[in-house]
């Protein structure tokens, strides 16, 4: 069969169930295609092709024997390279972990393997998931398949690019301030950040622990849900994970109330993006949704709270990279102090160092109350505002990114401009709520636009329902032939 690699996970599952193809055939097709296209897309830091073929053969064998199979049995999945994989290099996009081979699997990896999924490789990402363009990777910059001179967004850059370029149907990303939703938006795919605690973080190399969450990325809503179903649920290894039972979603928004917060449609959002989103809202209204106006007054402060909390946690989380136990070790071993300083200064990229310094600053003696504690208090206010707003509606719709994908190098020297782009996405992480990117057309440069649907805690099925309704109404999302 031709172009097996370009099928959705749902289509692959159908063919596998009907025994029209084998998992090995699919995997071979995926590998061949990646070998053909990845020089240009640069979606992967590490390929796992040999293992992937074995995993596929294992799934085929089980199927042949009629054994119980997971839903993802034989289906290729890519992992962002900040999820630990036993015996497979895991770099977090950093030189400091350039040669790190974990002795254990992240819980999501265990779950995928138990389900029979085929792990194709580890995708390019901004170093320690810190970035919104993919340009902070120590290895390579993943490309946007719609225009390879543009960024795919970040930090789950490779995961977005590999799915958008139809290299694989499914990928996992991680989202601390928008790192799943924003690259999904910029590459025209679906990406969902689950509720904080819905998916185990065990084995996810931490950036901002209280905000980080792993989530699914795919070209269709059904595929997104399928991957989410496989990874969600409480994990005894993660004290912050919650009991969570996946609930099926529908495809009708009839009678649903959808909130539009005026604070998200301000002057920072490009006119073209706004226009597309208003059109999408109109579509949902035609499908029977009621549109209500809601208010989230503290939105303006969310970016500060986000960067303070995330960087404070990161400054502590990244203390362990000291050149002693694993990873890159610095050139100066003349003393312990020099080993620490040389390992960290040579091993971390500039953006990571900047965030460590900011985090160190906001936690340091005399500044803690003014920055970190204040940000945490603000977090409570923001949570409350979302809670109140979500009493007036079933879900909220906002723009996802102020603009479409920009050119590589365009913003990379201005951290403030780069950080400001996260305005629409960070609030959810601060509030711990779920959100999803739904593609809704293209701008004048033919670059994808997306809107964000966000909802109450553990309301993923509501978000998927709205996304599915929109997807059906517009006749599916555009796919880039690559």
């Amino acid at each position: 069969m031709d172009k097996l690699y370009s099928l959705t996970a749902g289509q692959m599952k159908d063919l596998l169930d009907k025994r029209e193809v084998t998992a090995v055939e699919i995997t071979k097709s995926v590998i061949e295609n990646i070998e053909r296209t990845d020089k240009e897309i640069q979606a992967y830091i590490t390929y796992n092709f040999d293992q992937a073929l074995q995993q596929a053969a294992g799934a085929d064998e089980k199927r042949a024997k009629g054994e119980q199979l997971g839903e993802l049995a034989g289906i290729p999945v890519a992992l962002k390279d900040n999820m630990c994989t036993k015996n497979l290099r895991t770099t977090a996009g950093s030189k400091i972990l350039g040669n790190f081979v974990p002795p254990y699997n992240a819980t999501v990896v265990e779950k995928l393997l138990a389900d029979g999924a085929v792990i194709i490789g580890k995708t390019t990402c901004d170093e320690f998931a810190m970035g919104s363009s993919g340009e902070n990777s120590a290895f390579q910059v993943a490309r946007n398949p719609w225009d390879t001179t543009r960024v795919p967004g970040g930090s789950s850059s490779g995961s977005a690019a590999t799915v958008a370029a139809s290299q694989v149907p499914l990928a996992l990303g991680s989202d601390t301030g928008g790192s799943i939703r924003q690259p999904a938006c910029l590459t025209g795919i679906v990406g969902m950040k689950p509720t904080y605690g819905a998916v185990s973080r065990y084995g996810l190399i931490a950036y901002g622990s209280s905000l980080d969450q792993i989530g699914p990325m795919a070209r269709t809503v059904d595929d997104t849900a399928m991957l989410f179903k496989a990874i969600c649920g409480r994990d005894k290894m993660d004290a912050t994970s919650k009991d969570y039972t996946y609930t099926p979603y529908g495809d009708s928004v009839k009678g649903m109330k959808l909130g539009l917060p005026k604070e998200y449609f301000g002057e920072g959002i490009s006119a073209e993006v706004k226009e597309k989103i208003y059109a999408a809202v109109e579509t949902l209204k035609e499908q029977g949704a009621e549109i209500v106006e809601v208010s989230l007054p503290s939105t303006d402060y969310a970016l500060s709270a986000y960067y303070i909390i995330a960087c404070a946690e990161a400054s502590s989380n990244l203390g362990r990279f000291d050149g002693v136990k694993y990873g890159f070790t610095g050139s100066d071993r003349s003393s312990l102090e020099n080993l620490y300083v040389s390992s960290r200064s040579e091993g971390f990229g500039e953006e990571v160092q900047r965030r460590i310094l900011l985090g160190t600053y906001v936690l340091s003696s005399g500044f803690y109350d003014a920055y970190y504690k204040k940000a945490k208090m603000l977090q409570k206010v923001i949570r409350k505002e979302f809670e109140d707003a979500l009493k007036l509606c079933d879900a909220i719709i906002t723009p996802l990114n102020p603009t479409t994908a920009f050119k590589i190098g365009e913003k990379s020297d201005d951290p403030v401009a780069m950080w400001a782009g996260d305005i629409c996405t960070v609030t959810l992480n601060i509030a711990g709520l779920p959100g999803i990117n739904v593609p809704c057309g293209f701008d004048s440069n033919n670059m994808p636009v997306g809107f964000q649907v966000l909802g109450r805690k553990f309301s993923e099925s509501t978000l998927l329902t709205i996304a599915k309704c929109y997807e059906n109404t517009v006749g599916g999302f555009a796919v880039k032939e690559f």
Partner: protein
């Protein structure tokens, strides 16, 4: 010590808890394992790993909190203390900062015959660090992470301690309390209890505290005693010479008996404490806190005081009995039979039985001896059925075998002879054979009566009733 000055000491005691597993992972909490074998990705702080709190640690710490009369904070959290050191693989220690599990308590300790109340600021839970082994042949140091994540409680005292003796009494009391509660092995030599000492001095009568100096590396309670006296003397000397005390951290060298500057206040670390985002708030219900409180046994100082007042024992004997939980329980079980005097029970336990425990290096519970048998044996002496000497013979047997002392007395023919006729014959025989002693007695050397009674006991092969014999000897000589 210069008597114009008063010493002020505050202590920070770290005690490892004897849980089965570490505080945040399932690795064994075990001393002495081969290097880097009780480790996993969590306790070695590998990227991506997360801590999960061991409930037993919380329960043990609350026990100690109750034992030290603390308020228990049933809703609390963990905080990260950030600093770089190679024994700390995450480069932060998971500890507790602003809401310790237990706070505002006190501990009563006995200093001489006085009870001294020492305030306890807080007790919090945290993880231990690994160990560094210095190896000159390798030109470096070796890091062993087995101890990483071993649960610790840190007990911080108020600056209520006024002498090295008080400090020692406080530390000893913490030590026995840990053992009583069964929450720590409290083995100093294995480093499972460690302390940091804060010392300042001030002129007698002054209400302001002097500048304090912190001492690290104080590895035993007797070292604490020495270190406090040394540091106080050092500070007094500085002040007497017109100098000023500088806030600093000094390292105690117990071998040389001196301390040296480790770091000055300017080098003080900025630990950047903040709530650990990997661990959420945790709660212990009021019911659970009360349940733990109800499980706290009577503790050594209270026992000591009770033995003194209830049983009329001396302070020293009471403390010795109370010091060891098993010995105290045994003592109380014997007394509870109501068959014998507590004073005799104490004498037997602290005398003959202690000797055996020391020889065998074991606990009283390791012996075959039962409280019932000891009580019976002592009551036989008190009823004058057997002599003290015969009692020792019985003890030797019941130490190793659960056997009724009455049966032993019967089998071995140890019963005391209290029959006047039989004893008279013995007395007459002894007096006849010891004319010189009799003459001495008559000449006023009345202390020879002991010798004569001893001879009578010998003649009776230990079975004679010594009190009766004494009376009969005196009466017989007076009649002569």
């Amino acid at each position: 010590m210069n008597s114009n000055y008063e010493i002020v000491v505050g202590l920070e005691v770290h005690a490892e808890l004897s849980t089965e597993t570490k505080i945040f992972c399932g690795c064994k909490n075990e001393f002495g394992a081969e290097v880097n074998t009780n480790v996993c990705p969590v306790c070695m702080g590998l990227p991506g790993t997360l801590p999960v709190l061991n409930e037993q640690v919380v329960e043990y710490a609350i026990k100690m909190g109750h034992a030290m009369n603390c308020t228990i904070n049933g809703t609390t959290k963990h905080d990260r203390k950030n600093y770089f050191y190679p024994d700390l693989p995450k480069s932060y220690q998971i500890s507790q900062f602003d809401i310790p599990l237990c706070e505002n308590g006190y501990l009563d300790v006995l200093v001489g015959d006085e009870v001294k109340r020492i305030g306890v600021t807080r007790i919090h839970i945290e993880e231990d660090a690994g160990k560094l082994i210095h190896d000159d042949s390798l030109g470096g140091s070796l890091a062993d992470y087995n101890r990483c994540g071993v649960p610790l409680i840190e007990i911080v005292s108020e600056p209520d301690i006024r002498s090295a003796d008080e400090a020692k009494a406080y530390l000893d009391t913490i030590h026995t309390t840990l053992l009583y509660l069964g929450i720590s092995d409290a083995k100093m030599q294995e480093g499972s209890v460690r302390c940091d000492v804060n010392v300042s001095v001030r002129p007698v009568g002054s209400t302001e505290f002097g500048t304090r100096v912190e001492m690290k590396n104080v590895n035993s309670f007797s070292a604490a005693h020495r270190a406090i006296n040394y540091e106080a003397a050092r500070q007094i000397k500085v002040l007497e010479n017109g100098g000023e005390i500088v806030q600093e951290t000094r390292r105690w060298d117990d071998v040389k008996g001196v301390n040296v500057l480790l770091r000055s206040k300017e080098d003080a670390q900025d630990y950047r404490y903040f709530p650990d985002p990997d661990l959420l708030t945790f709660t212990v219900s009021d019911e659970k806190i009360a349940e733990i409180k109800a499980s706290i046994p009577e503790l050594p100082v209270a026992k000591t005081m009770r033995y003194m007042s209830e049983h009329g024992l001396s302070r020293a004997d009471s403390e010795l009995l109370a010091l060891n939980k098993n010995t105290a329980a045994f003592f109380e079980a014997v007394v509870a039979t109501g068959k014998c005097e507590p004073k005799s029970v104490s004498n037997w336990i602290l005398g003959d039985i202690y000797k055996v425990l020391n020889e065998r290096k074991c606990e009283i519970t390791d012996l075959a001896l039962t409280p019932a048998n000891l009580a019976e044996m002592i009551s036989l002496i008190e009823k004058k059925t057997i002599s003290n000497a015969a009692g020792k013979t019985v003890l030797e047997i019941i130490l190793n075998e659960d056997k009724d002392p009455n049966e032993i007395v019967k089998e071995k023919g140890l019963a005391q002879v209290s029959d006047t006729g039989a004893l008279n014959a013995i007395v007459e025989k002894v007096l006849a054979n010891n004319e010189k002693a009799v003459a001495d007695f008559k000449n006023g050397k009345t202390n020879v009566v002991g010798f004569l009674v001893g001879q009578c006991m010998k003649e009776s092969r230990g079975k004679g009733n010594p009190a009766m014999l004494k009376d009969m000897v005196v009466a017989a000589i007076e009649k002569m």
